[in-house]
Symmetry: C2
Subunit: 657 residues, 2 copies
Amino acid sequence: MTKASTKPSQIASRARFRPPAVPQIDVRGFWGGRVDAVAARTADILYDRCVEARMLEQIDPDRPPPGVVIPFHSMSPTGDEFTGATVTTQMFWDSDWGKTIETAAYSLYRRRNPELEKKIDAVIDIYEKLQQPDGYLSSWYQRIQPGLRWTNLRDCHELYCAGHLIEGAVAYYQATGKRKLLDVLCRYADHIGETFGPEPGKKKGYCGHEEIELALVKLGRATGRQKYLDLARYFIDQRGQQPHYFDEEARARGADPKNFHFKTYEYNQSHKPVREQDKVVGHAVRAMYLYSGMADVATEFGDDTLRVALDRLWDDLTGKNLYLTGGLGPSAANEGFTADYDLPNDTAYAETCAAVALVFWASRMLGMGPNARYADVMEQALYNGSISGLSMDGSRFFYENPLESRGKHHRWIWHRCPCCPPNIGRMVASIGSYFYGQSEDAIAVHLYGDNTGRFEIAGGKVTLTQETRYPWDGVVAITVETDALLPFKLHLRIPRWCRKAALSVNDETIELSGVSENGYATIERVWKRGDTIRLDLEMEIRRVYANPNVRQNLGRVALARGPVLYCAEATDNAADLQQLTLPADGAVTATDEPTLLCGVVSLCAEGEVETAAGWNGELYRSAPPTRTKTSFKAIPYFAWDNREPGQMLVWLRSSTA
Amino acid sequence: MTKASTKPSQIASRARFRPPAVPQIDVRGFWGGRVDAVAARTADILYDRCVEARMLEQIDPDRPPPGVVIPFHSMSPTGDEFTGATVTTQMFWDSDWGKTIETAAYSLYRRRNPELEKKIDAVIDIYEKLQQPDGYLSSWYQRIQPGLRWTNLRDCHELYCAGHLIEGAVAYYQATGKRKLLDVLCRYADHIGETFGPEPGKKKGYCGHEEIELALVKLGRATGRQKYLDLARYFIDQRGQQPHYFDEEARARGADPKNFHFKTYEYNQSHKPVREQDKVVGHAVRAMYLYSGMADVATEFGDDTLRVALDRLWDDLTGKNLYLTGGLGPSAANEGFTADYDLPNDTAYAETCAAVALVFWASRMLGMGPNARYADVMEQALYNGSISGLSMDGSRFFYENPLESRGKHHRWIWHRCPCCPPNIGRMVASIGSYFYGQSEDAIAVHLYGDNTGRFEIAGGKVTLTQETRYPWDGVVAITVETDALLPFKLHLRIPRWCRKAALSVNDETIELSGVSENGYATIERVWKRGDTIRLDLEMEIRRVYANPNVRQNLGRVALARGPVLYCAEATDNAADLQQLTLPADGAVTATDEPTLLCGVVSLCAEGEVETAAGWNGELYRSAPPTRTKTSFKAIPYFAWDNREPGQMLVWLRSSTA
């Protein structure tokens, strides 16, 4: 939960850890349940809602495009429009198809669904049909605003849409073996490479909403084509250079560059070259996607200058601008960052997409080597502020994830800017790939949870099976199966929230202090079939306090256990939640509740409550309120608003702080 | 500061206490300084700003009217418009002239200012010239929207403007002896009486912004004409009756009654007949003006049914909806009330006009007899949330009066809806009339402060001279001078904030318990020249706590001394104010500071501070913040933002509550 004490990524290291493909990992247990909800419900819902929003009509060249075009300037940051007209088309709908395809792909790997597969195949056929002979592919610029391609990279999500379609294509290929969409997107990526780059005559632009960078790295890794990695690096290097591309592009359109809705290029992180950036600024999802792409490029090219910038940005985010949930971006106005330590709870924007994107960034920082500094935050965002965005049954969604609700904040069926539903869908459906990282001679275990992972390493095959009730229990048993004697390093993360951990291999205790670096214990040996590892992570209930610069949390305390943050919800508690106080020395106990909210551990805290009883209708008086003893219940934050609607509170009042 | 324990106004009583005219009272000391600031600066500023806002052009029939008309529906509640066009005329500008004239009148009584008097005389000449032969007088409907008079009472402030001009006329007559404006307004009031009333053929309407009711009572008292009192009662009685006048009026205009910007008639307190109302709702100033008019009518007509309703409304306001400053109306959206106990500090609207209007209401409740239940709240609003709206030098104004500022809230030179500056101006300039109330056989002393009051009672003349440093010291010496032996009752308020009071007449102690009722001690005797009263009100520093239903103040405490509420301001304190905590047992000392902020008593509190020192850049951790001892300074709330700009905080964190 707290900032890792481990060191920034070691500059000298050239280790390159890549995540496994999703089909390499079979998850069970906690994440198995979440993936099943996505595969059983969310994946179908995403497709159906896209169709209801008339997205098929936008992409299909054989159908008339939907009607009303909303000019950009009349849109709010979320894409909701101000004028009252009905939105029936959006410039970023290719991205929603891309994420919907990606979610479907991983879901199809999880669970046969011939009907959904047929529908997605049909969407892919449409995209193949839509693609122009030169490889260009954008439903917006081909169908809604023809003739204007590559004229407004700043505002119009053109390369962003390409990136999401690429991610969808890679996922569909990896999960189903079908490569039609991958081929379509390779042709498009080739066209983009012919259009943008350092060579004379090519455009020197980059996208106003980052995404293409990380997508090109993914495509390069999936296809083995270096040119896609090079193009990703070009977009990263070019961002924020002078003369500023968005200025020049605006003038070329006959527009005044100053007439930019969001005023400052901090909004899209092009205010300065990326290596000079040291503050997380602007639109939170854009920032996280940029840093994800930077981390990928740093990993693939061993670029230490990017690493240095990324570590500065990491410190700025995790030291001053991150909610305890792993949520980020407090303001609705720019869907992003404001001022250091400005982390209001009830008005927190903390978009689901932003926490999901932080998981992306953190996981990519692990490409430069195992380091709990990043993995701890990845886990924090995974178990709290990201999956809070999806209802337990996989059918409803949060766009904003506040840490306090007075009872009016509830999940959506859909959103006019439907970025979050498919983003949380694809993240959950691909969770397996976040569990591990693999280099030439090492496997890193970043996350714990019941699962089986299959790897090829040191010329052989190895299967790792984790048996555990994590995150509800800290005991993890890992069984190694190999087809031969295999020498490799196994890095095991020791979460920073854990104060006492024990490790053994084949029942032989290993002193953690002797083998630990950057929050990971490393076991280097020749592994053989049947080797067993046991990791025992003591899972105490913790009180968490915020830095006193966070004014909203002064005098407040939060409860956490393992990676899971807790909250009080009205349905479990009689009092107004703000009237509850938690003494520093009050007992808090954990209870297994297998039937509550798909099975959680709940907390019961001894506390006190201040009520208006005895005030005789007085509004003010000289005697302080009296307190009476009470106990209250807390549930995991991610599971709130799945029962009766009501108040919710993460940061409880502390009666001693 | 706290809700009075005294009983609601005694239904059976028929006592009728009227306030003295302003020229009867000469204030010195604390209020003398405030009145001098208004007379020396504010009064001139008000006139100048009205002229700058082109208000003269609107009212003068010999000049072309100013240009742009902003349709009502494009205005925000404050009269700011949304479209970006320049506002050069407003339908409520006659009210600003009315209040400006009223402020000037009382200021001219205080301090000769021939230049200002000449200017105001000229404005009065213009109004005389503008008045139509039938008596009608409205610069808006004569000059900007001719032909539409009495077609939209709901939205267009027509009778409201009349009311403020009447108040200005009465004041100018009382302060200068000039009756030209009074005659003009009597003719207009006569016209209104011919237009509205229960008689067949007359309109059954009333104003969407109350004010005419209390103004007509004032006019009736000043002229001795009962018909004005009767008309005031008619407007009160008619309000909220069915069929609803605003519905019918809208239909007569060809409009849909449902198409009302503020949705509900609660906004203007016409949602039900006034005697059935039991919740303070809607626009706060409108509500206070209505209740003021109701109280005046209850007093003048001995109407117990109104008293009962007023006491219910009083309980609702003071028990659930009043800031500790005496401010009210937390929401900017309706400039008014929201939900019970919804009293946010940093976003408090708490318009200066609303606290001023509460002073009006509370003072009028005293018309039904001395009762600290009302006088305590009048004093609370006077010393805190109303005069906070005027800078110490009388030149700048708050529209909103929050109880917490992060450093961005500052006084205005002017406002496009300039209601507050002349409202606080006229209240301060007429403060003397709030000190006392007089019935046939009694004088009530509601407020303490250095002053001399002249009264006629029991067939003779009496002068009361208060000598005191109140509100900085609780010792009050009152000297009685009479021209003969005069029998009358003197009611002396014992403020509820005072835990220990002592009273003597001519050095003879009077047991308070034997002579006190409803928070007033009554001395009934035959008074003679030279009688002296000494009242000793112990002025302890008090900690004040809010009802736990006020979620924003849970765990917080405020400091008060006598009637004065305190706040911490950044310029006096090094730490972030939210990082300060005040222990329940920490010492707080008072210091006389004759050169600070025109002379105040400041407080110094022993407290603790939590800073980020020792956090090593961590955003969250398991150890609570450490506290170090500190002391901090607090100044009177009304005097904040008169020095270096910065944070301000009323409700300090309590380290035990």
